[in-house]
């Protein structure tokens, strides 16, 4: 409700401003005070007037004052040494972490053995059967084709490994997420306590999680699964809580009046009613887990991610793509299947016996398939090598785009200009900003579109970066994020407008967006290096490509949902197409557009960090360095700084927080 009134009020205020301006002096101030945004700024300005001179006088106006930093190198290095020395003897490792790790390895091993025993035919048949029963015949065909494609690409064994890891990781994430969500859905206090934690976990780039788990569990599958769970459980928890909390009050009262106990109410009314959210949660969890599966290859997760990672070290885009495509296909199959389960279908009424027959027939098919084909991985002769043609295509593209396009130069010049004219001034500007100025700026931005609480979180996060002694590096990363977000938004909105207006454009775009969104970020890195050289420019390019689909999707959705009545009346008033867009569609779709900004920021940050692998430098490089050298002090501090940066950026761009607080 409130989302619709705010832009309307803003529009009204704008209209008033065009009237002859007669107000003067005190009246202006009063009018300003009446507008919440101006009021917040006035308060902030007053606070700044008191605090800034003190801060500037005692600690200068340069970068973060060294008096406020804490050097954690010694304790962290000590902790790291202690862990390595005691990993095979201390009870905490033997009786706790050891069992956790053992359980994960055992579970993955069990799943993997089953998958191998089913053989390629059995796995493909099972996947198709599940998809058919859960989401219908069309999805079943997609599943069948996708698994066949994984085999054809010569990626059968890695695909099975990734699948085994995914099944375990998703099962654990769903269990953990559902439990947390259950607690938060049933108790208000838990909900309030848990929400900021979940918000934070979702805003963090996955790269920041890796080092601490590696330290405790070493390299391998166990830490990979755990890092994935940390990354993938929050959406499940959040959606479970949401589903339970939004149960229809009327239904609840009816159930209560029937004398149901608390447990009965939960099991027979609240959980079934929240089914849609629960399944959506599972869907989200699977998507997050898949994207993490690749990043986790840096810590030895094996499977498809490892193939992508190995291809990168030989600059082999073709092989990286051959391993990336199965990930996209897995994502599409799993997404369609779980999404199909979430949407209500008429077949729910199917008789129980008929359903049982169908299952039995399916199982028979699977068994037959497994037996006839034998429990073998995909036959070697049935593969198609796509690496070579893809590499030829890439080389051709690079040869023709790198330099010498008449008029605009080439991608190399573009990168040089972007670095010299956009990134450098922005970075220098941010680094030259007095530390109290940066804090003030963040406070103002966060408070303007959020509440004082979000503003406080944002300011504290930024301050924490300073305390950790990563101020300069974070400003460098921040400048890369800001610039890339700007590019993403310009491009994204430019694509979203036609997509929102024409269903045909939208239909054409959809598969492209799907692919770009699920393609592992690593696959982007090498072609962008070939096109843009090394440095911050390729990192930005990869970030833009990765964040663009989400922005296009959310923005076009928002624009399309603008009330047709409003559009109609604008048209009848003779507004041109551009006027409609600027004065009706954009203002009315404001909440969605702001959400697109928020998503762009979070996604861009996650890739800018990975950009450390292609010379992006700054915080990303420190994390890469920490992982590569087993240097906990460097890696963990940078990881925490990234987390703080992510939190700050999220809060600065999250307008709906305030509205949700009220709800």
């Amino acid at each position: 409700m409130s989302t619709a009134t705010t832009p309307a009020r803003a529009a009204a205020a704008r209209a008033k401003k065009t009237e002859p301006e007669a107000a003067a002096g005190a009246a202006v101030l009063k009018a300003l005070w009446a507008r919440p945004a101006a009021r917040k700024l006035l308060i902030l300005a007053a606070a700044a007037a008191v605090l800034v001179p003190v801060a500037a006088a005692t600690h200068g106006s340069g970068t973060w004052p060294s008096a406020f930093t804490v050097d954690l190198t010694k304790p962290l290095t000590g902790a790291s040494d202690w862990i390595i020395d005691n990993r095979d003897s201390h009870w905490a490792f033997l009786y706790f972490f050891g069992h956790v790790s053992g359980a994960i390895i055992g579970a993955v091993h069990a799943v993997y053995t089953v998958l191998l025993a089913l053989g390629w035919a059995g796995v493909t048949a099972t996947a198709a059967l599940l998809a058919w029963r859960v989401a219908g015949a069309r999805v079943a065909v997609v599943a069948l084709a996708s698994f066949a494609a994984c085999g054809l690409l010569g990626m059968w064994v890695p695909t099975m490994r990734t699948l085994a890891l995914m099944i375990v990781a998703v099962a654990v994430s769903v269990a953990v997420g559902a439990l947390l969500g259950l607690a938060a859905g049933l108790s208000d206090r838990t909900f309030r306590a848990l929400r900021p934690v979940l918000d934070t976990m979702q805003a963090l780039p996955a790269f920041a999680y890796l080092l601490p788990v590696v330290l405790v569990f070493g390299i391998g599958v166990a830490p990979a699964v755990l890092a994935t769970v940390v990354y993938a459980a929050p959406p499940m928890a959040r959606l479970t809580a949401l589903g339970l909390r939004s149960t229809d009050q009327g239904v609840m009262e009816a159930v209560e009046s029937l004398g149901a106990t608390g447990r009965q109410r939960l099991l027979t009314a609240r959980l079934p009613l929240a089914r849609r959210e629960l399944l959506l949660g599972v869907n989200q969890t699977i998507m997050m887990a898949l994207s993490m599966a690749v990043i986790a290859s840096v810590i030895g997760a094996d499977g498809l991610g490892d193939r992508v990672y190995q291809a990168l070290s030989t600059v082999d885009v073709g092989s990286a793509l051959a391993a990336g495509i199965p990930i996209v296909l897995l994502a599409i199959v799993l997404d369609r299947t779980t999404a199909g389960a979430a949407s209500p279908r008429s077949s729910r009424t199917t008789a129980r016996t008929r359903r049982a027959t169908a299952w039995a027939a399916g199982v028979a098919v699977v068994a037959a398939a497994a037996l006839t084909a034998g429990a073998k991985p995909w036959p070697d002769t049935w593969t198609v090598a796509i690496a070579a043609p893809v590499n030829t295509a890439k080389d051709w593209m690079v040869d023709h785009l790198y330099t010498g396009i008449p008029g605009i130069g080439g991608t190399a010049d573009l990168a040089a200009h972007y670095t010299a004219w956009v990134l450098d001034p922005l970075r220098d500007g941010l680094q030259a900003l007095p530390w109290w100025g940066a804090l003030l700026l963040v406070a103002a931005l966060a408070w303007l579109i959020g509440t004082w609480r979000t503003a406080l979180t944002a300011v504290l996060s930024l301050a924490a970066i300073g305390v950790l002694g990563r101020w300069e590096l974070s400003m460098d990363t921040l400048s890369q994020v800001v610039a890339a977000v700007a590019v993403t938004l310009v491009l994204g909105f430019a694509i979203a407008v036609p997509a929102a207006r024409s269903p045909r454009v939208e239909r054409l775009l959809r598969p492209v967006l799907d692919v770009f969104q699920t393609m592992p970020q690593f696959v982007y890195l090498i072609p962008v290096v070939a096109l843009f050289g090394i440095g911050r420019a390729p990192a930005a390019a990869a970030a833009v490509v990765y964040a663009l689909p989400a922005v296009v999707r959310i923005a076009s959705e928002g624009l399309r949902r603008v009330n047709p009545g409003a559009m109609e009346s604008a048209r009848s008033l003779g507004a041109t197409s551009g006027q409609q867009l600027r004065q009706v569609q954009f203002p009315l779709a404001r909440p969605q557009l702001l959400l697109a900004v928020n998503q762009a920021v979070v996604l861009v940050l996650s890739v800018v960090i990975i950009g450390g692998l292609v010379g992006g430098g700054a915080l990303g490089y420190e994390v890469v360095f920490g992982l590569a050298q087993g240097d906990l002090a460097t890696g963990l501090t940078a990881g925490v700084a990234i987390a703080c940066l992510g939190l700050m950026l999220d809060r600065v761009t999250q307008p709906t927080k305030g509205a949700r607080d009220g709800a």
Partner: protein, 325 residues
């Protein structure tokens, strides 16, 4: 509803399976192998592949011979150098085929904890240094002495070097003293990390295509020399005194990199119980020429590692026959 109970049941199954798998006593994480090992009843050897192609060549040939001559199944996992030591000590991988010298880890795992055993020399000698492309060195022969590097700083600028000359470094995982060297030799350069070797190679190839000058951290043996000929810049001579000083405080290094005989390392348990595979890996030793031949096929001709190994094995039976136990 039915699905939910099924989900719960499957979760329980997983937990139960895990519990029976690990038992309830102490569980030593450092003895837990990869879940993919030994699946489907085959003997599995897990090799660590480092990110550079020379190391991939070693692994590719070892893998091919283990699989086709000795009947093992071989898994390869890409791990950075230092974490690979860690993984090796825990038995997550069985062998590192090429190590460029990690004294700290060697002391910790080989001497103190005895979880890693030396696996002998690889037969290849490695050398790290600073290199410029041959076309640039031909035009300006005096660039090959470090004392003259400052003269060329302005020609070697890059977008990320902030007005100074650019010294291109690769992956953060590699052994490097470059930051200390630049500072201690008073050079007007900035070390720019490409972040990964892939990115560095792409950049070097791109520069070579346009005959642009560059100064890069690089190492021998490396297949890229065949494609982009480079000449080494002479740094102050490597001395034992300088090396000792550097071990104590890495920021004081002011001399060239040493020439290192590359070594293999095996997991200590694996050397005892690994049977033929362990003996084979210990015997594995070849020349720089052999390694480069395979590396070139992988990286430049874009053959799959398996295919490259197959071709090399076919042509050089006299080299590898000696390795078989």
């Amino acid at each position: 509803m039915a699905r939910k109970t099924m989900m719960a049941a499957s979760a329980l199954c997983v937990l139960a399976a895990a519990a029976t798998a690990t038992g309830c006593g102490a569980a030593d994480m450092t003895k837990q192998a990869s879940p993919y090992a030994d699946a489907a009843g085959t003997k599995t050897v897990t090799l660590s592949v480092q990110s550079w192609v020379g190391a991939r060549a070693n692994t590719a040939v070892a893998k091919y011979l283990l699989e086709h001559e000795l009947g093992y199944r071989v898994d390869t996992v890409q791990v950075d150098e230092v974490p690979a030591w860690d993984a090796l000590s825990q038995g997550r991988v069985d062998a590192i085929m090429e190590d460029w010298g990690h004294p700290e880890q060697e002391k910790r795992y080989v001497e103190d904890k005895k979880t890693i055993a030396p696996g002998g020399d690889l037969g290849v000698t490695g050398h790290i240094g600073w290199w410029v492309p041959k076309y640039f060195a031909d035009a300006h022969p005096d660039v090959l002495d470090w004392r003259n590097l400052n003269k060329y700083a302005s020609q070697l600028r890059g977008p990320e070097s902030g007005g100074k000359g650019q010294l291109l470094d690769g992956s953060p995982s590699y052994v490097t003293n470059d930051k200390a060297l630049v500072a201690n030799l008073g050079l007007d350069y900035k070390v720019v990390f490409a972040g990964s070797e892939a990115a560095q190679i792409t950049q070097l190839q791109q520069s070579a295509k346009e005959k642009k000058p560059f100064l890069t951290y690089w190492y021998e043996p490396q297949w890229l020399f065949n494609e982009v000929p480079m000449v080494e810049v002479k740094l102050p001579e490597y001395t034992q005194e300088c090396a000792d000083k550097g071990t104590k405080d890495p920021s004081t290094v002011n001399c060239a990199y040493p020439t290192t005989p590359l070594k293999k390392f095996l997991n200590a348990d694996f050397t005892r119980k690994g049977g033929k595979a362990a003996r084979f890996l210990k015997n594995f030793a070849w020349s720089k020429k052999d390694q480069n031949a395979v590396a070139q096929m992988i990286a430049e001709d874009k053959l799959s590692a398996d295919e490259a190994a197959k071709r090399w094995v076919k042509e050089n039976p006299d080299v590898w026959k000696k390795w078989l136990p």
